[in-house]
Symmetry: C2
Subunit: 140 residues, 2 copies
DNA sequence: CAAAATTAAATTGTACACAATATAATTTTA
DNA sequence: TAAAATTATATTGTGTACAATTTAATTTTG
């Protein structure tokens, strides 16, 4: 058996499994807002800048229109975002927050702290995980 | 705007994005074997021990039967694994490698090395990423 | 300027993930 | 030992991901 093919020697597996595990920890908190984790990410980006194109959202979240279009339509259905085509360039669709979408931010403020408690990770580990994955993400 | 709700302050996002990015780097190599990344993970586990229950696979990969059952049926369709109910306990389904499934291991031997080249990461970063995510995964 | 190339979103199709539930078999317990 | 609880897998339904293609609009180029 080739040593490099053993599960415990895989580099991607713990990253993949950890991402899913953290998302599972988010679930009870996001359930209360009736949001999925990717929907929450879209809102994080919109709370920073309330009107953006699908393309801008996609670049920040590294997601394409095949993922975002249906996700954004679901957020629109819920009355959280508005979708409107640019008049200047009709290929472009602007996504903006509704009042309801803006109001959700208040309900979400406690989530980061709640998540840290739920994960029960040390601050050092948290910082190390974030900095190494940020660094690698930037490089690849 | 609450500082903790900014995308660049999220701890999970880079992990989630990096996992997807690494899987995208695997894609061209796995395409040649006509495997998806989760299917490849199942084979890694089976190459270590060629006959296991669905439950054992699920524990090692942190996946439930809702994910594994259809995935394993697809691998069975391709002639890579065999599925058979235990006679001792008819609730249990054993998954084992076919000759074709065993033969795939040879074709996969170069993948770990190819992936590292594709990612072009330093060995230190790779080791740091793996050790911190292994550590956190164990703890949560 | 008109044809060709590019761009932005949407659509289609396949394959995960996972919650919730169902089914059937085995263990536990009263 | 029969009913209750547990266990293993399967099924159903929703929501991503992403490749490939389509559509429509804009830019570039001959």
């Amino acid at each position: 058996m080739t040593e490099l093919l053993k599960l415990q020697n895989q580099m991607c597996f713990p990253v993949y499994a950890l991402a899913r595990e953290i998302i599972n920890h988010y679930r009870p908190m996001l359930d209360e807002l009736e949001l999925t984790y990717p929907q929450y990410l879209v809102l994080l980006v919109l709370w920073e800048q309330e009107k953006q194109t699908v393309n801008q959202l996609g670049e920040k979240l590294m997601l394409d229109s095949g993922t975002l279009t249906p996700l954004l339509k679901r957020l629109e259905q819920k009355g959280i975002v508005k979708r409107e085509r640019s008049t200047a360039d009709e290929r472009v669709v602007f996504i903006s927050l509704t009042e309801q979408g803006k109001a959700l931010e208040t309900k979400a403020t406690c989530i980061p702290e709640q998540l840290m408690q739920s994960l029960n990770m040390s601050m050092e580990d948290m910082i190390q995980l974030k900095s190494i994955s940020d660094k690698i993400l930037k490089a690849v």
